[in-house]
Amino acid sequence: MSTETLHLNIDRADGSLQRLIGLVERRGFHIDGMTLSDEGHGRHVELAVRGRDAARCTRTLGRQIDKLFGVTRIDGRPSGQHAGQAAAFHPEVAA
């Protein structure tokens, strides 16, 4: 399995970091690396993740992270937007 890096902002509320790391591991990913830096009002996290098996999809993981409150992916997703509030996603058309 290849490693991919997620870039995220997390707030300082109790449990935010634990919530993020727990979700990644529960959903079937190894965390191979992590950096955490202070960004004033919040924190920036880079997580290197690798699926435990071929069935683990980082696209699905990203969407599961999007559902967390206080955690925001910064790779292409508008800040502060959550699943329940999000604008419609682009539909996926399988081959």
Binding site: A13, G15, T60, D66, K67, P91, E92, A94
Partner: protein
């Protein structure tokens, strides 16, 4: 607090404690009923409850508070509320919180905790409940300042109910409960409107028009998304046959034309065979749960998939999706119906095939084996006798599957069951929550002897509040579903399933002050049903059933849904 939220200062008021702010905020949000159990670390909240407008239901175990709040939410469509003290009170909520998470039910759980100054010191009844529950909540908030209490509560309610609903935990340290503040901040999150993706809808409509064997796959997200009427209209207008997950039963009425029944492990032959033959699945608010799909790689092998869901992370999670429509389901279905109106689908041969199979494979009751009470026939009869106001609050086990297979459900709120978690002990407290949310409903707890004993203490709650729940206790003196699997898949090696030393359940109920009687023979069933339903208050019918009776059909583990086993 979320980035998009805004704290709205309200007029200055006299100083209040965090506990009083909690109670006044719950009142302001329209909460009427709270299920809970007091203890040391939440005593300031209970002090503030006295004299409030809130009706507190004192359960006899915190797990029952969470289950009752869950069922209250399922039946009413409102957010259910439960509360407990720190430590063991909080940990006793956990199974109920997980149940709400698995079935996407909006509940807010309020826990007391030790004062912040002693957090992390292993203080008496200190548990990091926020940390313990992280995997099983939609969100959780540890409140550190009394002034933040109103905002935290309002945020919790908003998160619990919005988008894909779920449980939210609010942890209140004792110093926050007793701390005084004159600040009182409201909280406002603007309601986001999800635009309908008309391009995706048009592609979905195109696929439906092109399909020869389309099938509507109804999940629990339809009722949660209040899209029942839209879905029923869509099914009526198009004539497309439909199937349902366990949690969605009642969304399409059991006796509606084209309805094939529940799919999956204990689904109907008609539903499972229709899935395997379909060339298009139109999925509304379902997550391809393994109990529904059987062997995933062989599930619906000929079907393309159109998937409507509010939760984008469910799209493509387990099954490839060809057209995805994320967002609120009700407007999505309305838009789809509009695209398809005026153009009848050319699916008559498929409709006839499905209807014929439904009739040919329907359950039969008249030739039930033996002379004892046949539970499937009893469940069918009581649901028909209770009529459209019937609500089944099911426990977990064989009886749960029989209820799903054989009861008549006219409304989506008529079937309350622990679907995702499968939590034994759910039935009785769920019945209490459902009845308190809708006193006019005929709420029947369908329980087995194993699960009933897990929350039997709630008979005291029935008695205390006169909650007129009818308990149908199907007693096979064993853990029936486990016994069935041991019979079929473990060479009949029966291990720890014997419950023949159960207490006398009639005497137990009477000891709690609840009317009770026994049904032992088939000829007693009709009179027993009439007596149970006619009882003014809570009543328990103890029904002796054959311990060898199994649930059929059954898709064995690791098999596809076409490989159903049938009983004798």
């Amino acid at each position: 607090m979320t980035a998009s939220a805004a704290r709205i200062p309200e007029p200055a008021a006299a100083p209040k404690s965090g506990a009083r702010l909690l109670v006044s905020t719950l009142e302001r949000l329209g909460v009427e009923v709270v299920f809970g159990y007091p203890g040391g670390a939440i005593m300031p909240v209970y002090d503030a409850l006295a004299g409030s407008k809130l009706r507190h239901i004192l359960v006899r175990h915190e797990q029952a508070a969470a289950f009752a709040a869950d069922a209250y939410a399922r039946r009413s469509g409102k957010v259910g509320v439960c509360m407990a003290t720190s430590g063991p009170g909080a940990t006793n909520l956990i199974t109920g919180i997980a149940n709400a998470m698995m079935d996407s039910i909006p509940i807010v759980c309020i826990t007391g905790n030790v004062a912040q100054g002693v957090m992390g010191t292993d203080a008496f009844q200190e548990i990091d409940i926020l940390g313990v529950t992280l995997p099983i909540v939609k969100h959780s908030i540890l409140v550190r300042d009394p002034a933040d209490v109103p905002a935290a509560v309002e945020e919790a309610f908003h998160i619990a109910a919005s988008g894909r609903p779920g449980p939210v935990l609010i942890d209140l340290p004792k110093d926050v409960q007793v701390g005084q503040t004159s600040e009182d901040f409201g909280f406002h999150i603007p309601n986001a409107v999800t635009p309908i993706d008309h391009d995706a809808i048009a592609r979905a409509a195109e696929m439906i028009r092109a399909a020869e064997r389309p099938l509507i796959y109804v999940g629990g997200g339809v009722k949660i998304g209040r899209a029942t009427e839209q879905l029923r209209t869509f099914a009526d207008q198009t004539g497309i046959p439909s199937i349902s997950t366990l949690n969605a039963l009642g969304t399409i009425p059991t006796d509606a034309p084209g309805f094939q029944g529940m799919l999956g492990m204990h689904g109907t032959r008609a539903a499972n065979e229709a899935v395997q033959e379909a060339d298009l699945l139109i999925v509304f608010g379902a997550r391809f749960d393994d109990r529904a799909t059987g062997k995933l790689a062989e599930f619906a092998p000929h079907a393309r998939v159109v998937h409507f869901d509010i939760d984008a992370s469910e799209i493509g999670k387990l099954r490839e999706t060809h057209v995805a429509v994320t967002g609120e389901i009700a407007p999505g279905i309305e838009a789809l119906s509009a695209h398809l109106s005026g153009t009848p689908l050319a699916i008559d041969p498929w409709m006839i095939r499905c209807d014929t199979r439904v009739r040919r494979t329907a359950f039969r009751y008249e030739d039930a084996p033996g002379e004892g009470v046949y539970a499937p026939a009893l469940l069918k009869a009581i649901s028909e006798a209770a009529g459209d106001d019937f609500v089944a609050a099911c426990d977990v086990g064989q009886h749960q599957m029989w209820a799903a297979q054989h009861c008549r459900f006219a409304k989506p709120e008529a079937h309350i069951t622990s679907g995702g978690l499968g939590a034994m002990g759910f039935g009785l407290p769920a019945g209490i929550g459902a009845k308190l949310s809708d006193p006019d409903a005929t709420v029947v707890v369908v329980a087995g002897d194993g699960g009933f004993m897990m929350n039997v203490q709630e008979l005291a709650t029935l008695r205390r509040y006169g909650v007129a729940v009818k308990v149908l206790l199907l007693d096979n003196s064993s853990l029936g579903l486990v016994r069935q699997w041991q019979e079929l898949f473990f060479d009949g090696n029966y291990s720890e399933i014997d419950l023949s030393d159960n207490p006398d359940f009639v005497k137990v109920a009477e000891a709690f002050g609840v009317e009770a009687f026994r049904i032992s023979r088939r000829e007693e069933v009709q009179a027993g049903i009439a007596r149970l339903l006619a009882a003014d208050g809570p009543c328990l019918a103890h029904v002796i059933i054959d311990p060898r009776e199994n649930v059929w059909p059954l898709v064995p583990p690791g098999k596809n849904n076409a490989e159903m086993m049938e009983g004798a």
